[in-house]
Structure formats: structure tokens, C-alpha cells
């Protein structure tokens, strides 16, 4: 403990930084134990700008341009062969290549791709971090044993990238900063901290995300590689490039402790898909949604979550998007159940216009909780029942499917209640004694008592003065002449006769 305090006091200045890991340069033994426990895998999606744009896979010359200024953000190999590079003006590029395809950069699309990769990466390690604009960092020391080595993890990452048609450079290093820098330039594995300085030395300054003007200034001074920086006196360097950047170099060399924001998994997710063309065809819409549901299910499975609410947005050309919200009775991870609900809804739904794109927005995801029931068959039945109730509600309306329960009240209309969710089966003691009809009219109907033949009476019900719905009634069982028996009452408050029930 005393030793580390001594180390702290040796560090020159900068109260804002965290110098905990600072030690004598190139003495890996000093804090070996703490740093030994980290191994960072950096995945640099170097062609993300092109791969997230419509020109991905195009063989003819094509470029992606920044939307704000007319400069090229990235060029595909065919365009590069003609001499078009990132950073050159769009006009110049158009002059250099005939029929150059130009697309605007889709930054949200790039972020989305990186983000979904980071969410997937949580299956490999809990420590995942995004370095804008195109690097993903995974701390894999703890996962090495489980997956059987760094190569296996890299293979898993590559398989995923291949599936999503993304290309990347993957590098390994004991510090996150070093791994990031390495991956921006080449693929290399540095597992030993002692090799770190040697590997970083050769990297050009373009691996840093420092401003272009600063790098140009350094280049004028003859500093083109990281190694050139390392040779300079530390204080002078701090004056020229800023203390923060010196700190960055320290982190990369494994000399300083680095803090990194971990990616938080979003509580709500969304996916979207463009349909091949405008369509009103139900089968095509369902097919499109199924693709989205597949993505949802993958995520639910990976994160051990389930879903209880979702919205499907239908985009139309030249119109505002319409949306449909689905509330589930109980959380689920069952794709078929979602599809059933959707196809039921689409069957009755008339969309205002043909649909061009679909988007799925989830409500908050809840933790997967698998009940271990005493009797398996019973649980299965319960699930089937839930699905049936959802389908019925979908078509008939949420208020049209319900159970009933008793309530402790003298007023006949309050002696029962509709149950829209499964309730605990409390035993209610019914306070009434008189005969009750099997059919009840939800709204008592005024009736003419003159042709009623009173058979049995009367039962006085006077109650409810405390909650604003007082009743003061005399109930009778009466016959209207024909066969049935009616339950009628005389309302003392309104001085009228009402029909309230029929004896079934």
C-alpha cells in the first residue's frame, strides 16, 4: 500500500487524471498482476462506411460522400483504382471517374451495425466497449478458458462478421488503447506486455483519432510514427500535443490505468427492414415481420429476456407511418405466438397505403423467468390458454374476454366483477340470502309494473351510501304473464320500476 502511494506522488501533475497505474516506463513487473488480468480484442470495421451504405458489394466505381460538405468519406476498390481517395472533393472525384456512383454517408446505419455487433459480443464477454466510429473492444481474458483460446473467439467474431457481410481487422493487446491502434492499421496479436512498445512503434500516426491538423503539424516536424513520439521528451510533448494525448500514449503502452465506458445493453430494441417494393400483400408483410421477429428472438435468446409488448411501424411513401401496438397477456419468447397475433391483426387491419418498410419496436424487455411447475402438462395448458386469450382479445377487443369473480357487496351490480387478468382465487363470503337470477342485465331497464304478476317479494337492498352510488330498492320476483321469471325492483330514489335480471 505504501509503495503505491509513493508511486502516486512521483507522477508529474495532472490532478484530473487517474495515475494509479503509473510506474517507471518499461518495467512491466511493477503492476504486472493487475494488468496481466486484461486482454483486449479490438475489432476494427475498416470498411464500415461502405459496408453500411448501398454501394456495398458494388464492382463499378462508387463512393460515399459526407452529407454536409462535398467530400468523399470512403471509396470502393474500383474507385480507388482510379485514384479517388477518402478526403478528396466530390467534384474532383466526379471529374476523375465517369459514371461514378455517389451515395450519402449513413452514420446512423453505421452506428446501428456497430451496436448490434456489440450486443452480440456480449455472448463472448461481459466487457464490451465501442470506440467511435468503427472499433469494438472486447475484454476476453476471462473468456479464454470457456471458449478455448483467443483464436476460437476470433473465429466466432469472424463468422459473425461474415454473416453480416462486414470486413474487419482484429488485433489483440494487453491494453485497450493499444489494441484499438493496432487494429486500425494491421492484424496482430500482442499477448505479452513486453512486446507492446515494439509493436506500437511502427504504427503511423493515422491510427490515433487526433485531429488531422495536429497530425500534419507533427509530420512537418518529422514525426510520422508512434515510435517517433516515444523518443521525445515527455514534458515538451505534453506542451505540443496536450496532456490528454500523452496520457493516451501511456494507456496504450500499458503504463497508465485506463477507464472505458462499457456499452450498456438497451432496454428497448428496434429493428427495421425495407420491403422489396411497395406492397399491401398480407403474406409479404408477415414474411417481412418474421425476419424482424427472428432478429428479436435471437436477441432474446442471447440475453435471456422475454417480451411483453411491441409495436410494428408500417412506413408508406409520402405519408406518415402507421403503427400497431400489441400487448401480450404474459411475457413470451415464442415467435409463433407473435406471428399468430400479427396475422390476426393484419387480417382485420386496413392499412392507409401500401407499405414500403417495416420496423419493430419492442417494449421494455423483461428477464426470462421460467417457472418450474409441479405438473408439466398443467403449465403447458396454461400457456396454450394464454395464447388463446390473446388471439380472442386481438379480434374481439381487450374488454371482450374476461373471467368473473364474486365481490363482497350487497348491491347486486357490485356483487361480482370482471377479471381481465388471472386473479388469486379468494373465497368471498356472499352477504346476501335471497334468490338470485342466472341472467343479469348490465344496465337495469325501466319497466312497466302494471302487467307484472308479483310472485315473491320483497327483498330490500339499501346500501352503498359511502361510495357515492347508494341504492334503495325493493326486489321482487315477477312474471310478465308468459313463462319466464323476472327479477324486478322498485327504486325508492327514482320512484320507478326496473328490470334487473332474468331467471334462466
Amino acid at each position: 500500500m505504501a509503495q503505491s502511494i509513493k508511486n502516486l506522488s512521483l507522477f508529474p501533475g495532472d490532478p484530473g487524471s487517474r495515475p494509479a497505474g503509473r510506474s517507471v516506463p518499461r518495467s512491466p513487473g511493477a503492476l504486472g498482476q493487475t494488468r496481466e488480468s486484461r486482454l483486449w480484442l479490438a475489432v476494427c470495421l475498416h470498411d464500415l462506411i461502405i459496408e453500411a451504405s448501398p454501394i456495398a458489394g458494388s464492382r463499378s466505381p462508387a463512393v460515399v460522400a459526407h452529407s454536409d460538405d462535398a467530400h468523399i468519406a470512403a471509396a470502393n476498390p474500383a474507385a480507388r483504382a482510379l485514384g479517388i481517395e477518402a478526403g478528396c472533393a466530390l467534384d474532383t472525384a466526379l471529374a476523375m471517374a465517369d459514371g461514378l456512383q455517389v451515395e450519402t454517408r449513413d452514420i446512423p446505419g453505421e452506428q446501428q451495425a456497430l451496436r448490434s455487433l456489440s450486443i452480440w459480443a456480449r455472448t463472448l464477454t461481459p466487457t464490451v466497449s465501442i470506440v467511435a466510429p468503427n472499433v469494438l473492444l472486447l475484454e476476453i481474458r476471462g473468456s479464454l478458458k470457456l471458449f478455448g483460446g483467443a483464436d476460437r473467439i476470433k473465429a466466432a467474431v469472424r463468422a459473425r462478421l461474415l454473416r453480416h457481410r462486414l470486413s474487419a481487422r482484429i488485433s489483440l493487446a494487453p491494453s485497450a488503447q493499444a489494441a484499438t491502434w493496432l487494429s486500425r492499421h494491421l492484424e496482430c496479436d500482442v499477448e505479452d506486455e513486453r512486446q507492446l512498445a515494439g509493436s506500437l512503434r511502427a504504427l503511423p500516426l493515422s491510427v490515433t483519432d487526433w485531429p488531422y491538423t495536429l497530425r500534419a503539424r507533427l509530420a512537418e516536424m518529422g514525426i510520422r510514427r508512434i515510435g517517433d513520439l516515444l523518443r521525445l521528451p515527455r514534458d515538451g510533448l505534453a506542451l505540443r500535443i496536450g496532456r490528454v494525448r500523452v496520457q493516451e500514449i501511456d494507456c496504450a503502452m500499458g503504463r497508465a490505468f485506463e477507464q472505458r465506458a462499457l456499452t450498456q445493453l438497451p432496454q428497448r430494441r428496434q429493428w427495421s427492414i425495407e420491403l422489396p417494393g411497395e406492397t399491401n400483400d398480407r403474406a409479404m408483410l408477415i414474411e417481412g415481420c418474421e425476419v424482424l421477429f427472428d432478429q428479436l428472438m435471437d436477441e432474446l435468446r442471447e440475453r435471456q429476456k422475454q417480451i411483453s409488448r411491441f409495436t410494428v411501424h408500417f412506413s408508406h411513401l409520402h405519408r406518415q407511418a402507421s403503427q400497431e401496438t400489441f400487448e401480450l397477456l404474459a411475457p413470451t419468447y415464442d415467435k409463433q405466438r407473435l406471428l399468430d397475433l400479427l396475422s390476426d391483426r393484419l387480417e382485420r387491419l386496413s392499412l392507409p397505403a401500401p407499405v414500403i418498410a417495416l420496423a419493430l419496436h419492442t417494449g421494455e424487455l423483461s428477464d426470462l423467468f421460467v417457472d418450474t411447475p409441479e405438473l408439466f402438462a398443467c403449465a403447458e395448458k396454461q400457456v396454450a390458454d394464454t395464447g388463446m386469450i390473446e388471439r380472442l382479445r386481438e379480434r374481439c377487443g381487450p374488454k371482450s374476454v374476461y373471467g368473473i369473480a364474486l365481490a363482497e357487496d350487497h348491491r347486486p351490480e357490485s356483487a361480482w366483477s370482471m377479471q381481465f387478468r388471472e386473479a388469486a382465487g379468494d373465497t368471498v363470503v356472499c352477504p346476501w340470502e335471497g334468490e338470485r337470477p342466472l341472467w343479469l342485465l348490465l344496465q337495469p331497464r325501466p319497466c312497466d309494473a302494471s302487467n307484472l304478476q308479483i310472485e315473491l317479494g320483497s327483498e330490500r337492498i339499501e346500501s352503498g351510501w359511502w361510495d357515492g352510488r347508494p341504492v334503495n330498492r325493493d326486489y321482487y320476483i315477477a312474471r310478465p304473464g308468459s313463462g319466464e321469471r323476472l327479477w324486478v325492483y322498485f327504486d325508492h330514489r327514482g320512484q320507478r320500476w326496473y328490470l334487473h335480471g332474468v331467471f334462466g
Binding site: 396454450a384 388463446m388 380472442l392 374481439c396 374476454v401 369473480a405 338470485r436 319466464e484 334462466g504
Partner: protein, 204 residues
């Protein structure tokens, strides 16, 4: 005769001779009525149709004793004309916990709702109020009812009593003063009959 054998298996043709073996019934609770029904009660796993002109003449009361004994498998009420009153149901011995009510907004949705319930709730009880149901619809429902072993009771207006129907039991209910008249119009494995039940036995 090969074609005949396949048809009879696939189409669930009913042959009078082989019927009685798996004929399950549930006592109605009214001995006079039981005596008129083959097997001595309501045919389970089959469709029963009850035709009435007015509600409240005892059409529910006549079912109550049997319903009380079937409640544990779940009872689904589809499109009842009024609200079945919970306190009265409890007094008849029914368990409210497995009861489900469905009120389709359109009459055309009633057979669909019945089908949904039939598909899911095996060996349950379904009470549905139909009007102007088509024969093809009823046939489809009947197949499901038999496959899922559901006791299904459908109520229809009296004017439809003469239409064709795949029901195993068709009866007409009417009230005569203090008595409930039950006319068995059609009864698989039995004969048409008429009986009267005292009103106080079925009245609410």
C-alpha cells in the same frame, strides 16, 4: 368395399351400429330427462343444440346440475345475451375460477371464437349463442368438438330448429305456465320425445 372403409375412417361417418361403445354422457340432474336421452345424460364430445324463443325460461337452469360437475375443466361462455350472474352461478355450485367469457363484437365472429376455444381447451365445456350459423360451419365445429372431446351446447333461435345440423342432440325448450317443456327433436341413438320439468326445479 375398400372405398367405403377409407371414407368411413376419414370422414368420421356415423354408423348406428358402432356408436354406443364410446358414447360418454353426463347425467342431466333431471331423472325424467335422463330417461329420454341415450346413455342417460348429455352427450359429451358432441354438439347439443337448444332452440329457444325467449331467454329466461329455464334454459340455463336445465344445464346447471351438469355444469356444476364439469366446472373443473373450464367453462367458456361465448356471446351470452346477458351477463351470467356470478352469485347465482356460485349458488348452483359452479367454480368461477376456470370460467371464461367471450363477447365477440360481431355475430359472424362467434363461430370463429368457438373454434379458437375448441382448439385449445380440451375436454372443456363450451356454451355459445349462435344465430344463422351455416351448416358447413357447424360441421367443422362438430369435427373439432369430437376431436377435442368438448361438451358443446349451442343456443339458437327457435325458427332455426328445422335447419339441418350435425348436432347429436337437438331440443326445443318452451315454458308452459309453471313447467318447462323439453321437446327432443333429434337424438343420436334415441327417439324424439317430449317431457315436462317442474319450473321450480330449473328456475334460477
Amino acid at each position: 368395399m375398400a372405398w367405403y372403409a377409407t371414407t368411413s375412417n376419414e370422414m368420421e361417418l356415423w354408423r348406428a351400429g358402432c356408436l354406443q361403445s364410446d358414447w360418454k354422457t353426463l347425467a342431466t340432474g333431471f331423472p325424467a330427462l335422463d330417461r329420454c336421452l341415450p346413455g342417460g345424460g348429455w352427450p359429451l364430445a358432441a354438439m347439443t343444440e337448444i332452440f329457444i324463443d325467449e331467454y329466461g325460461i329455464g334454459e340455463l337452469g336445465v344445464l346447471m346440475p351438469a355444469l356444476a360437475r364439469r366446472a373443473q375443466h373450464g367453462i367458456t361462455w361465448i356471446a351470452p345475451p346477458f351477463m351470467p350472474y356470478a352469485p347465482a352461478l356460485v349458488r348452483h355450485g359452479l367454480d368461477l375460477r376456470n370460467m371464461l367469457f367471450v363477447q365477440p363484437p360481431k355475430a359472424a365472429d362467434v363461430p370463429w371464437a368457438v373454434e379458437q376455444v375448441l382448439q385449445t381447451r380440451v375436454e372443456s365445456t363450451v356454451l355459445a349463442w349462435l344465430s344463422a350459423a351455416k351448416l358447413t360451419t357447424l360441421r367443422r365445429l362438430q369435427l373439432k368438438i369430437a376431436a377435442q372431446r368438448v361438451w358443446a351446447v349451442f343456443f339458437s333461435p327457435l325458427i332455426e330448429a328445422s335447419r339441418r345440423s350435425p348436432a347429436a342432440l337437438k331440443m326445443r325448450l318452451s315454458r308452459h305456465d309453471d313447467e318447462l317443456q323439453i321437446d327432443i327433436l333429434k337424438c343420436r341413438g334415441g327417439r324424439p320425445a317430449s317431457i315436462r320439468v317442474a319450473g321450480y326445479e330449473v328456475g334460477g
